[in-house]
């Protein structure tokens, strides 16, 4: 039974900065007759934090799913670490990319520590297994969950559950991180913390794609911002270039104002109010 046998035990080294880690070219994705993605090309490079923004239903999660290898596009090419997404085995892919979906329920009352430990599953039987304890402890500490480690998952608040899911993804220790709205249920402090963690991972050579709704958060922390609008890539580039009044007003179909932060000079995007 191949299924019960261990997969190979090779541990990938850290990626070199600038390498393309996940690459979508001219990707089209359809569901129920609707074109969710319409010819999108986007690359996540090693060493960068790439923020993916756009209005509801723009196709952000679909693009993240395509780059994760979850869903095959109806046309276009997707490569992960240079290899076509559908050429990977499930286990091998799990050693190269970690994904944080929007919702992360846990069906049984596991402790926070057990949930985070599950992030180490792809490394079972490889030399990286020796790193399990350190990686789990570090992920718990980084997300501020050390004192929650023995708490039962269903007794946590929404924000704490979201941090637990993030800690699991961090513990997986992969070169590519795909995070779908990791800050959604979190307070201001933890939002900053999550983006700081993404930055820290990028500095060790990882590529981080993060879907965000808060454009200010994206502008302050990301190296590049990609704007999706109705399944098309409206813009991609450094925050200063992308955060532009006309473009964002059109994409969000609501007038916006872009002002420069008086101290840092980073763009701040606000809905236009009387």
């Amino acid at each position: 039974m191949r299924f019960l046998a261990r997969a190979g035990t090779r541990v990938p080294g850290p990626p070199t900065a600038g390498d393309p880690l996940a690459e979508a070219s001219a990707v089209v994705a359809t569901a129920g007759g609707a074109r969710l993605l319409d010819g999108v090309s986007l690359t996540v490079h090693a060493g960068e934090v790439l923020a993916l923004v756009g209005p509801n239903g723009a196709g952000k999660s679909t693009l993240l799913g395509v780059l994760a290898g979850d869903t095959a596009p109806s046309s276009g090419r997707v490569t992960i670490h240079g290899r076509p997404a559908d050429a990977w085995s499930t286990v091998d892919l799990a050693r190269h990319r970690a994904v944080l979906p929007q919702h992360n329920p846990v069906s049984f009352p596991f402790t926070v520590r057990s949930v985070v430990e599950m992030g180490r599953a792809p490394w079972e039987g490889t030399p990286a297994e020796d790193d399990d304890e350190r990686a789990v402890a570090a992920a718990l500490a980084d997300t501020g969950l050390t004192s929650f480690a023995e708490r039962i998952h269903p007794t946590l608040s929404g924000g704490e559950q979201a941090r637990t899911a993030l800690a699991r993804v961090l513990a997986q220790s992969t070169g590519l991180l795909l995070l779908d709205e990791p800050t959604a249920a979190m307070d201001l402090r933890h939002q900053e913390q999550v983006l700081a963690l993404a930055r820290a991972r990028a500095e060790t050579g990882a590529g981080v794609l993060v879907v965000l709704h808060d454009l200010g958060l994206a502008a302050a922390h990301a190296d590049r911002v990609a704007v999706l609008s109705s399944g098309k890539l409206a813009a991609a580039g450094p925050p200063e270039e992308v955060c532009e009044t006309e473009l964002l007003s059109e994409v969000y179909q609501h007038p916006v104002e872009v002002i420069s932060h008086p101290r840092t000079g980073k763009p701040i995007v606000l809905p236009y109010r009387e």
Binding site: F3, N104, T111
Partner: protein, 365 residues
């Protein structure tokens, strides 16, 4: 001043205690289960219409393995009662109970749903259709094995039908599968009703008793046919344990962590179908063991499948052997249907578990 002051918060004790306690709990649980199994099995062999002292039961077993410490029963009738009637029955109860316990844990893990049990995917009702067919039409082409053999085949076939019907585009979602199970169970129920209607009075009686479940008339040959299946089922279940943990994060998340979710689900369902079909083919339908035992274990040691699966094996075996002891001896000269007994105790107990879990953990929505 109100008298209902809330107790002071003690986060320190609250968060730190379970960490050190769980491994100890696991060891204690396994020790209690094994000790319970040995004691209850021996008592079950000793107690009955024809009482045999416990020391003679132990002596008889030791004699067979060549140790002459305790005296075996002097009465050859007692010796025969032990080896031809009671021991096969006790061993069959252990095997059937163990299978139901493990398969309950597997199904709950496989569907990420604490209410799942083997019956959900049609194993029990499918097996019942096969058993009813052979009873109503009086088929005996396999001798006394006809009913169990047919029950096994239809149980397996029904489960696979549920799986195949629920699949679309290579995936079988949890809700689709459970609802397909409901539909297939309904059809199987209709088939059973028709067979009850079509059968003569003797057949009807036999069907009713098969569905009530019983371990009466157990023979060594029954034990020999299902023991290998139970062993394989238990070993595969243990190999799947870690992956089942990951499945509780959701299908997509499990896939992100390297689990082939579709293969895992298929292997689990095949194992459950084979093992449960084999178990119920001899014993008839015995409910609630697969539902209650994993819950009880989870309450004591947490939901990790590496502990849950072996503990459910032992727990299911213990529960059924105890239930059978009660079924045989609650009333003189009457062998109560064991399925009735497990449901009678299991139903209220399950409800209590539900309430308790809701109180302590926020429960399931």
């Amino acid at each position: 001043m109100t008298a209902t002051a809330s107790p002071p918060a003690t986060p320190g004790t609250d968060t730190a205690a379970p960490a050190g306690r769980r491994p100890v709990r696991v060891v204690v649980l396994f020790a209690v289960l094994v000790a319970g199994l040995v004691v209850v099995s021996l008592v079950s062999a000793a107690v009955g219409q024809f009482g045999i002292p416990l020391s003679q039961v132990v002596g008889s077993i030791l004699n067979r393995v060549g140790i002459d410490v305790l005296a075996a029963p002097a009465d050859p009738f007692a010796e025969a009662a032990l080896w031809d009637v009671r021991f096969p029955r006790v061993v069959l109860a252990l095997l059937v109970g163990g299978v139901l316990g493990v398969c309950g844990a597997l199904m709950q893990g496989c569907f990420g749903n604490p209410l799942a049990e083997p019956g959900v995917v049609g194993v029990s009702s499918g097996a019942a259709v096969g058993a009813c067919l052979s009873i109503v039409f009086g088929w005996t082409f396999l001798g006394s094995f006809t009913t169990p053999a047919l029950a096994f085949c239809t149980g397996l076939a029904t489960t696979l039908a549920v799986y195949v019907l629920a699949r679309s585009k290579g995936k079988a979602g949890v809700v689709t599968m459970i609802l397909t199970g409901v539909a297939v169970n309904a059809v199987a129920g209709a088939a059973i009703s028709f067979l009850v209607f079509a059968g003569d009075q003797a057949a009807r009686e036999q069907i009713v008793f098969w569905q009530l479940g019983s371990l009466a008339g157990s023979r060594w040959v029954y034990v020999a046919t299902i023991a290998p299946l139970v062993a394989v089922c238990a070993i595969v279940a243990l190999l799947l344990a870690k992956r089942l943990d990951l499945l509780s994060l959701g299908d997509r998340q499990a896939r992100h962590l390297g689990v082939d979710v579709e293969v895992l689900r298929l292997v689990t369902i095949v194992v459950v179908a084979v093992a449960v079909s084999a178990a119920v083919s001899y014993s008839g339908i015995i409910g609630f063991v697969g539902l209650v035992v994993p819950h009880l274990i989870r309450m004591i040691t947490g939901p990790g499948h590496r502990v849950l699966i072996p503990a459910s094996l032992l727990g299911g075996a213990l529960l059924l052997v105890a239930a059978d002891l009660l079924a045989r001896n609650a009333f003189d000269y009457a062998d109560l249907p064991i399925g009735m007994l497990t449901a009678l105790v299991g139903g209220p107990f399950f409800f209590w578990l539900l309430l308790r879990t809701r109180r302590r953990e926020g429960g399931w929505t």
